[in-house]
């Protein structure tokens, strides 16, 4: 099903996503008592990088050049599968949540291949970590969506799509099955932090190779390629935050109010990320799987509780 008012999500995501990064950095700076970079710093960075030339290592092949492009394009397609407040997604069909998750996985796969293609030992290590943590985070997303799908659209004659799940999250659902929504939301927040390589899992500001995960696999990218990778990271941040907002925040039916509430919640989430990063240190590497398994556990619990009904 193609819905033209679904253009809202892609347009907002493509324009506002880098701002989310700016909010995180600004919150971190304010907590630390600094002024911090301007809110629009990410836009300036992208603009600057796009006007630079790219340097390619002689050992790399076309895989390295394809990585950023594939990664960015999968995320742009994923934007089109995502509903926002009252407007459905541009494309919605039965089972589109699985496509959504696999698009994110495809983007990651491309970036990881590019990292391995450089032949650098550090990038290989980062790639291994990235894939390992992602493989632990993915079940949490899928099971969480399954729990919410069961709570919202099961036994209905509606399509089992992200859009129909979104429209059926209501205040009534919160009062009946609030526990399940809380479980899924907290698991998704953990996944949100892990997938975007934010602090309890990965430190986005560190440049010490031994502790890096995401930052290390993009070390060899430069110029427009790096701009693509950074822009894709912004989009991913926006989309996973939007996933939490859409599955959890009920809609009132008032178009503008809902849109404002959703965008507001996105920025609140970004501020929360900034506060988390200011308040806690990165977890030790062996602790990270425990955190992600814990998130998966919560979603399994939500699904079991939901299946009982």
């Amino acid at each position: 099903m193609i819905a033209l008012n679904g253009l809202v999500t892609p347009i907002l995501a493509l324009t506002l996503a880098p701002l989310l990064m700016g909010v995180i950095n600004r919150v971190k700076a304010l907590v630390a008592g600094r002024t911090g970079p301007p809110l629009l710093q990410m836009y300036y960075d992208l603009w600057r990088l796009l006007h630079k030339g790219a340097v390619y290592s002689e050992t790399t092949t076309w895989l390295f050049r394809a990585g950023p492009i594939v990664s960015l394009s999968t995320l742009i397609v994923a934007c089109m599968l995502m509903p926002m407040s009252d407007s459905p997604a541009l494309f919605s069909f039965s089972g589109d949540m699985v496509v959504f998750v696999s698009l994110l996985a495809l983007g990651r796969f491309a970036i990881v291949l590019a990292a391995l293609d450089t032949g650098s030992a550090f990038e290989g290590m980062g790639a291994a970590r990235e894939v390992f943590f992602a493989s632990l985070a993915e079940p949490a997303v899928l099971l969480g969506m399954a729990a919410i799908a069961k709570a919202t659209v099961a036994n209905q004659t509606m399509l089992l799509s992200l859009s129909s799940m979104n429209t059926r999250v209501s205040l009534e659902l919160w009062s009946n099955q609030g526990v399940i929504l809380v479980f899924v939301a907290s698991a998704l927040i953990v996944v949100f932090l892990a997938e975007n390589s934010r602090i309890p899992v990965d430190d986005p500001t560190t440049h010490l190779e031994l502790t890096m995960i995401h930052e290390v696999i993009i070390l060899d990218h430069s110029g427009p390629d790096l701009a693509f990778v950074l822009y894709a990271a912004c989009l991913k941040l926006w989309l996973l935050a939007l996933l939490i907002v859409e599955l959890v925040i009920p809609d009132t039916g008032n178009l503008l109010l809902d849109l404002a509430a959703d965008v507001g919640t996105l920025f609140v989430l970004a501020a929360v990320v900034g506060l988390v990063e200011s308040a806690m240190a990165r977890l030790r590497m062996p602790k990270v799987p425990q955190l992600l398994v814990g998130a998966t556990t919560l979603t399994v619990l939500a699904l079991v509780l939901e299946l009982r009904n």
Partner: protein, 214 residues
């Protein structure tokens, strides 16, 4: 009322998983006492049941014993034993949490197959009690530190208590109190045993107790 009741049961289930996944002994004792406090409130919140002094007495005594007496006893023997954490469990923490989740799923299944002679107070009572008993048993089997095993034993008793809540209409006060007395005596004896083991051997690792020596 019914909502708070279910919420408490779900929190108990989460606490089980946290217990299965934590290694610090002080944290484990604290969580176990919280677990005890949660379940001791349950008899007062029974849906569609009139307020009753028998249930109030059960609740208050359980709260006192499980929330305050046991933790202080265990903390004391912990201080005597001078250990901080379980270092090498028989089964790792991630595996334990996974087993806990499987147990929860299985208990929901068993609870549907189990035919109880009484009407159910809440759909969650039986699954939560079964999974708590399982978590307790698992702690006893999969941990080496004697103190963890005591906590596992307590957790198992909590599960039995929750099972008793399903029978709260018919269960006599005396039976409930008898069970509680048994548990108090057991924990007391275990505390003394723990103290003597750590005094004799400088550790409370039960895996090493099977070796004979002078």
């Amino acid at each position: 009322m019914a909502l708070t009741f279910d919420l408490l049961l779900i929190i108990c289930m989460l606490l089980n998983l946290i217990l299965l996944g934590s290694s610090r002994l002080t944290a484990v004792i604290r969580i176990a006492s919280l677990h005890g406090m949660m379940i001791s409130v349950l008899p007062l919140l029974l849906p569609d049941h009139p307020f009753d002094f028998r249930l109030l007495a059960i609740g208050i005594i359980t709260l006192g014993v499980k929330g305050f007496v046991f933790p202080s006893l265990l903390t004391r023997s912990l201080r005597a034993a001078n250990v901080r954490r379980e270092i090498e469990p028989v089964l790792g923490y991630a595996v334990s949490v996974g087993a806990g989740v499987v147990a929860i799923a299985a208990s929901f299944y068993f609870a549907t197959r189990l035919e109880t002679p009484i009407h159910e107070t809440s759909k969650l009572v039986l699954p939560v009690s079964l999974s708590t008993i399982f978590a307790g048993l698992f702690l006893i089997i999969a941990r080496r530190q004697a103190l963890m095993q005591v906590v596992g034993y307590l957790l198992m008793e909590n599960g039995i208590f929750v099972f008793g809540i399903a029978l709260a209409h018919d269960e006599p006060f005396l039976v409930e109190m008898g069970i509680l007395l048994d548990v108090v005596v057991a924990v007391f004896v275990m505390g003394i045993a723990l103290f003597h083991i750590s005094h004799e051997f400088d550790h409370i690792d039960v895996a090493q107790l099977s070796q004979l020596r002078d």
